[in-house]
């Protein structure tokens, strides 16, 4: 059930069978959520973390006028909020972008894991650091990238993150977001995003249509984005 989580962990870390068993035993309730639901509200007290099994979730913040900025996307195998273990109250909201299936991990079970295994404590600490690196890359995008580069960079990132959990190839991936949600990721208006997608399509780089990203030229997509995957920390990590 949490195989994608192990794919994600084992892309970077050694997880032996005892550690695997410890993680499996920490999994609690499985829940299904409908698309478009804010499942964690900013500043609400949390005592369990949410592991995404199927679907897409996001972190977002918004303003009084309804303007929303998505700060990160979560793909299957990700914890949407392992950082809530330490923060307890989040400065952002978490919502489902598609129908999702999640597994809840109570914080007392996470504590037991970290006490029993310094390696696993480091593994989960590492994952919060990777989330922070993803936020810094999004800061670069939102602050400095041109509109077309922002969209290209997002597609490059998702192609790698979904690829780790077997949900993307070099030729593309399913991406069940609408244009408005994509716009909220890249800090653009939906009308502008539509124009950018047309440009990317006409340049035979990538086509996003019918909730599917078809990559025609991955090297060109990465070049348009000026994409450097270092921030995803995909190398094997020392124990």
């Amino acid at each position: 059930m949490i195989e994608r989580h192990f794919l994600r962990l084992r892309a970077r870390h050694d997880i032996d069978s005892e550690q695997e068993a410890a993680i499996r035993s920490a999994i609690g309730e499985v829940r299904e959520y409908q698309a478009g639901r804010t499942v964690i509200h900013a500043e609400e007290y949390i005592d369990q973390s949410t592991l995404l099994l199927d679907g897409l979730m996001c972190r977002y913040k918004d303003l009084k006028n309804g303007q929303r900025q998505i700060a990160e996307l979560h793909v299957p195998g990700d914890f949407a909020d392992v950082h809530s273990y330490v923060l307890k109250r989040l400065d952002h909201n978490i919502m489902t972008l598609t129908d999702c299936r999640v597994a809840m991990v109570p914080h007392d079970r996470l504590r037991a894991i970290t006490v029993a295994s310094p390696h696993l404590a480091r593994v989960y600490w590492f994952s919060t650091a990777v989330d922070a690196a993803i936020h810094r890359e999004w800061v670069l995008s939102l602050g400095r990238r041109t509109a077309i580069s922002r969209v290209a960079a997002l597609f490059c990132e998702l192609q790698m993150r979904l690829g780790i959990v077997g949900l993307a190839e070099d030729t593309g991936f399913d991406f069940d977001l609408n244009q408005t949600e994509l716009a909220e990721c890249v800090g653009l208006t939906p009308v502008h995003v539509n124009r950018i997608l047309k440009q990317l399509r006409e340049q035979r780089i990538v086509t996003f249509r019918n909730r599917r990203v078809e990559i025609h030229a991955l090297d060109k997509l990465r070049s348009v984005a000026e994409f450097d995957p270092f921030y995803l920390y995909l190398d094997r990590q020392p124990r």
């Binding site: 539509n194 124009r195 047309k198 249509r209």
Partner: protein, 84 residues
């Protein structure tokens, strides 16, 4: 909620909105369209160009045109005539 499509016609051709989006009303769709065009023009302005020859067409789910908004209607352009 009603579904609207926001198509953009400008110097780079026609950008068709295949997917469209739900808006509470035509006025809301128009507001979003205007915001979008200003954003596109804003990026072009960053490269030193301002081409106001274009329009937005808002259609319903059946392709009926509900409203047309010209680019020059959404930008208040001020400049001196250059003659004192």
């Amino acid at each position: 909620m009603p579904h609207f499509h926001i198509h953009v016609h400008n110097h780079s051709g026609e950008t068709t909105d295949e997917e469209g989006a739900d808006y509470p009303s035509l006025d809301d769709a128009a507001r979003s369209a205007v915001e979008g065009v200003r954003a596109i023009l804003g990026e072009e302005l960053g490269r030193g160009a301002l081409d106001l020859r274009g329009r937005i067409e808002i259609t319903d789910a059946d392709g009926q045109t509900l409203r047309v908004i010209r680019f020059d209607e959404v930008v208040n352009l001020q400049q001196d005539s250059g003659r004192e």
